[in-house]
């Protein structure tokens, strides 16, 4: 388990704004995803844990070892932290073969076991055939697997992955995800993974921490974060929602209903406890929870008319993007049935209307 409280300040320079990383989190065994836009402090957080960056204050605890303590002036050097670090560019030593890369890392494995252990790792990460090659002779996926194997061979107590899928195409990503799941099962250590891809988060994450401007804005299992973003900022970062400004016009706790005004149309939603009439809120709804039908001129109950701007093909669905900024995802068969219609009516489900 890793427990961290990190505070690090960068003063504003002539050409750069100041930056403050102020973060507190825990990571148990399994995946903890650090999610956020570039410049949110994700990689800096990894560097603080690995010992490449020194927080101004705070405390980092790995299992029962203090890695850093600002008050007690403890700062363990990187080589003694046993953090496996997988770098964005893999950082495989170019002058060594894969086997030599692993040998370099296996210094702490007892001499007699070293050879067997290296063979075992090469086997496990499907690298045995290319063990004698140098990194420049390898594919991206092989380099990636080798850098993970190298980080793990010394039996680290935490694995840090900095945007591991960057530059990999879809099939390689899928391979990597299965490799990483296997690592989670076999090594049973906390794995901190940095990404700005929410799908990756859902795919792997046991827990996620949403970072923005050096602060954690929300933490929890990815599915729960997706279902209940803490605020409009988080919803925007996840990038999977329609966010529409709306105003509450009526609230009726007795009938569990409310009326919202959105884009000059009235919508009926559930009752929102703790909200007042006249509140300006954000309507937050996933494109696949909306539906749309060709417009017949008069919008019906809970419908907003909109004109289609473009359609985007998804593997199993079609995404319709409308002029008012709303996106709807429908099954392909449904869209094909309607043909090339320009004017649509978007239907909002009453129960699923979430506001932030």
């Amino acid at each position: 388990m890793i427990q961290a409280r990190i505070r690090k300040q960068f003063a504003a320079g002539r050409e750069s704004a100041g930056f403050l990383l102020d973060l507190e989190f825990q990571a148990m065994r399994g995946f903890t995803v650090l999610f956020g836009p570039s410049g949110a402090g994700k990689t800096l957080t990894l560097d603080c844990i690995a010992g490449f960056a020194h927080p101004d204050e705070g405390r980092i605890l790995l299992d029962d070892q203090i890695l850093f303590d600002g008050a007690a002036r403890v700062c363990v050097p990187p080589r003694a932290r046993s953090c496996g670090y997988v770098f964005q560019n893999y950082a495989l030593f170019p002058h060594m073969t894969l086997r030599e890369n692993l040998e370099f890392a296996a210094k702490r494995v007892p001499r007699l076991e070293r050879h067997r252990k290296i063979g075992e790792m090469l086997e496990k990460f499907h690298l045995a055939e290319v063990a004698g090659r140098r990194p420049y002779e390898l594919s991206g996926g092989q380099k990636q697997r080798c850098s993970i194997a190298r980080a793990l061979i010394g039996a680290p107590r935490v694995l840090l992955l900095d945007e591991p899928t960057r530059g990999l195409d879809a099939p390689l990503r899928a391979d990597l995800y299965s490799v990483l799941r296997q690592v989670r099962e076999e090594f049973g250590i906390p794995i901190l993974l940095v990404t700005h891809d929410f799908e990756e988060c859902l795919e792997l994450g046991d827990e996620m921490i949403v970072l923005r401007d050096g602060r954690a804005v929300q933490a929890g299992p990815p599915r729960r974060v997706m279902e209940q973003p803490a605020n409009v900022e988080v919803a925007r970062l996840l990038g999977v929602f329609n966010l529409l400004p709306a105003e509450i016009r009526a609230l009726d706790p007795g009938r569990n209903s409310s009326r919202l005004r959105c884009q000059d149309f009235e919508l009926t939603g559930p009752y929102y406890p703790g909200r007042l009439i006249g509140d300006h809120v954000w309507l937050c709804i996933r494109p696949d929870l909306l539906s749309a039908v060709p417009s017949n001129g008069r919008p019906g109950m809970n419908q907003i008319p909109a004109s289609l701007v473009r359609t985007v093909e998804k593997p199993d669905r079609v995404r319709l993007e409308f002029a008012s900024g709303i996106a709807v995802e429908l099954e392909r068969a449904v869209v094909e049935k309607y043909g090339s219609v320009k004017e649509w009516a978007i239907e909002f489900p009453q129960a699923g209307l979430r506001i932030l």
């Binding site: 964005q88 950082a91 002058h95 370099f104």
Partner: protein, 227 residues
């Protein structure tokens, strides 16, 4: 007319010894300058660079004061080796060392600094000590530029004149190096000898420069650069 080849052999011997010493001291200094941050780092760098800009006679004067028979260092040397340092061929090695090390440190520092930091971070996170990082990662990665820098340092230590003259003197068959022998030959109107020696020094310098250039340019692309 027979030519006395002693200055050539002495110069080569001095250059080889001083290059080996310069590589040992200079690479470590360069690596520290490139990798560590500590107080007074830039002062140290300036101190190392100073011999590059000082007039050789000034540098020679300092060394004479520092290593002369009456100085503590001179005493120490004399008590260990049983003979004074100044005005021996060993003093010529010291002169060449001060003449060539700054150049080596400068180029080696640049070579170390051009290594992608993630390799050093990776090595440290994998538990490597600083010494292991230096030998197994930094040095091999910067190998070509460092060999080039060493070649240049060799050429430079071959050609020192001023400092050598100040602290090793001009004693024929004992401390007379090539550069000084050429001066001597010209002074004593021995044009034939001067021409021969000049041609030899020029040829050696050219070969060394060609080697250095080959090492720094990369005719084989990134593949060879990585080795």
């Amino acid at each position: 007319m027979s030519i006395d080849w002693f200055p050539l052999w002495l110069s080569l011997r001095v250059a080889v010894i001083s290059t080996v010493l310069a590589a040992g001291i200079g690479l470590w200094l360069a690596w520290i300058l490139a990798n560590r941050s500590f107080r007074g780092k830039e002062v140290l760098d300036a101190g190392i660079t100073l011999p590059l800009v000082l007039p050789p006679t000034v540098l020679g004067y300092y060394l004479l004061v520092l290593l002369g028979r009456n100085s503590p260092l001179g005493h120490l040397y004399e008590s260990i080796f049983g003979q004074p340092l100044v005005f021996t061929w060993q003093a010529a090695v010291v002169a060449a060392l001060f003449h060539s090390t700054p150049l080596l440190v400068k180029s080696a520092r640049a070579a170390f600094e051009s290594i992608d930091h993630s390799y050093e971070k990776a090595a440290r996170s994998l538990g490597a000590s600083e010494l292991r990082l230096f030998w197994r990662v930094s040095l091999p990665l910067a190998r070509r530029s460092i060999l080039a820098a060493t070649a240049l340092a060799f050429a430079r230590s071959l050609g020192d004149f001023g400092v050598t003259l100040m602290i090793a003197g001009n004693i024929p068959r004992r401390t007379q190096t090539m550069a000084i022998a050429i001066y001597d030959a010209v002074e004593s109107d021995n044009g034939y000898l001067a021409r021969i020696l000049v041609l030899i020094i020029s040829a050696i310098a050219l070969v060394v420069l060609a080697i250095a250039n080959r090492l720094t340019s990369n005719p084989f692309g990134p593949r060879q650069a990585a080795l």
